[in-house]
Symmetry: C2
Subunit: 388 residues, 2 copies
């Protein structure tokens, strides 16, 4: 018996289109074969969403073959058969003997597979710098020093989304909005941070508009006295009168995330917080106005920095990053000096968290796509401090 | 103003003891200085639990200094100050200009810091093969080809737990048990997988015995027709009459996880499932009986394999792995041929998930510690198929 093909969020034509763009880039670089190891690039190319990237796995694409070949460990192959768009024989696996084995691992089998496909005589690209140095050395040794590093080649292609990808991110954004509104219902003095987080995260899973969250993305709840921190979840603590809470979360649909940050205050916000919020929102609005095809990431970031700078505020961190499968796409950043030119259907998390002291910070963000003429903000929670 | 020191789950003496073991091993290897990049090793050595490992960060330990030095990106330093056991001046940071910067990154500053501490003239160990090949090449270039790879040196030291670490895992195990019992309440025909997952995960966050889960660990819900898969979360589907559900989850306390797997059946289990369950439980019991100081990981695995083999069942995957901070410790495995000798307070997830066909599998597991004379099973959910 075989596991049936599962629900396919994207049609075959969508994947063939993505592969067409990859092959065009392979052709431009003179490559016959590539090996992709980044788990989000794997999702992009095949639809595979198993959480198995802690063991070797990856995708081989050749110019000669229409469909990619995914190689997983044996016990993950059924998930590959269930989720990937390809024919069954395009999902192959290596033996469980290679897991937890101090002498060899799955990459040894993957390299053998590439050699069987003619890698020794081909022009081969591998996401070398993304993998561990142990694994990269294996590829270099077996395939020769001439193999090309293609780290971030596929990642850059992900920056411009298809309309179907935008739709997934729009659904994810609705989940993020719902979770922020739920937070406003459950954050109260005397409530444990964990209990509020349980409710908010349950909302991220149940989803919105009848569409469940597909998995969990990053979730950060930085509450007083931790509002100068940015990457910690709920603490072993409860909310108090006058607590401030900085929240960052993201709904997920089919692997696509739409990040969102908002700030909450139990009781009237302090003058310091209200003033900072007002300045940050003015910066957000200026940055959104700067978005249009032809503008650069640097232009958008500097619209924010100069608007808040005129009001005496500074932000050390970047203003956001390319956004899609698995949260951050490590390509374009909304930062001074990033000359990436905006194109329609590029998507970003405009991340305006601003941690100005060890013990003070404010968070607000939006997920947006570039349109033909400007910007389409996918998230839509009120741009206020939520006063509870 | 500075962020106050947060709740410290372990006393200073616990960390000094861990560091003492690390320095003893450094001394044995003739090392003056090490750099540790594995995020779970960082937690082990400092108490830092920020979710920031997607950017460069790490810990420097020198034989000359009592406390480690943690280096984080600027915006994560407040979390370091809040969570780490060390003095404030042992938490340092690099500029945000190095984040999302195509020309240099945080490792460039970390290497400079190591050179300032005398790395050029010292005998230096770095977790080289664990980091990306791009980063490893930076360390090799700056510190010379003579630097020693210490990947998994600290990880191996984590295998034997202190009594306080065992206590954290026991609290985590109680959370895992509570979540499994909650699953039995919410999995019903017509319920969406996402809605049941929301309830189960909320339990993992709320915790047990007044102690919240500290964060979320892996969560896999593989329900019919996906019971031959192992590493996927809830699907876009609902439970039906006669559905089988294989669940793997883990409560977390202070970063320590206690994994647990159980199998659920809506309605009477099929003969095939009941027979498999009975065989698997007999194998589990035989494996638990084989655990004692002096036995090897291989002995324990083979007690399972031979017991189920006599009853006509085979399992391709290993029977478990060292277990603690962040789920899997990539050191000892409960597999044939792993000659690691068991010692008191070693902890493992005895992972008996057995996926025998693309469309059929069964899950059961326990988290245990080795005692002076045998085994102490930390998880305690009933070893039955939960019939709903």
């Amino acid at each position: 018996m075989t596991v049936p093909k599962g629900f396919q969020p994207f049609p075959r034509s969508e994947y063939l289109n993505r592969l067409g763009r990859v092959k065009k880039e392979m052709s431009r670089r003179g490559l016959d074969m590539i090996f992709v190891v980044d788990e989000h690039n794997i999702t992009y190319l095949t639809g595979y969403l198993g959480l198995s990237a802690y063991v070797p796995q990856g995708v081989i694409i050749t110019m000669a073959e229409e469909e990619p070949l995914i190689i997983l460990r044996q016990c993950d192959a059924p998930a590959g058969l269930h989720q990937c768009f390809m024919a069954q024989d395009r999902v192959i696996h290596y033996s469980e003997d290679l897991v937890g084995n101090p002498n060899q691992d799955g990459f040894d089998m993957i390299i053998k597979c590439m050699l069987d496909l003619g890698a020794a005589k081909a022009s081969v690209g591998v996401e070398l710098t993304a993998m561990s140095s142990l694994s990269a050395d294996k590829f270099r040794k077996a395939l020769g020093a001439k193999i090309t590093d293609i780290t971030r080649m596929v990642t850059w292609l992900r920056l411009v989304k298809s309309d179907r990808e935008i739709e997934a991110m729009r659904e994810a954004a609705a989940i993020s909005d719902a979770a922020m509104l739920r937070a406003a219902e459950v954050i109260r003095p005397g409530v444990r941070e964990a209990d509020a987080s349980a409710e908010i995260i349950a909302t991220l899973i149940r989803g919105a508009n009848g569409k469940p969250g597909s998995r969990l993305a990053a979730f950060f709840m930085c509450a007083s006295p931790r509002i100068g921190t940015c990457h910690i979840p709920w603490a072993e603590d409860e909310f108090r009168q006058a607590s401030q809470i900085n929240l960052e979360l993201g709904g997920v649909r089919h692997g696509y995330v739409s990040g969102l940050m908002r700030t909450y205050s139990i009781g009237k916000p302090s003058d310091r917080l209200q003033k900072m919020h007002d300045i940050q929102v003015s910066g957000l609005e200026a940055a959104l106005e700067a978005i249009k095809p032809g503008a650069t990431c640097s232009d958008v970031a500097n619209a924010f920095y100069s608007t808040i700078g005129k009001q005496g505020l500074k932000k050390d961190t970047r203003c956001g990053y390319a956004h899609g499968i698995g949260w951050l796409e490590p390509t374009a950043s909304l930062r001074d000096g990033d000359m990436t030119v905006l194109e329609p259907n590029m998507t970003f998390h405009m991340m305006l968290g601003n941690w100005v002291a060890d013990d003070f910070g404010h968070t607000i963000s939006e997920t947006f796509r570039v349109t033909d003429t400007g910007v389409d903000v996918l998230t839509s929670a009120p741009r206020d401090i939520f006063v509870l």
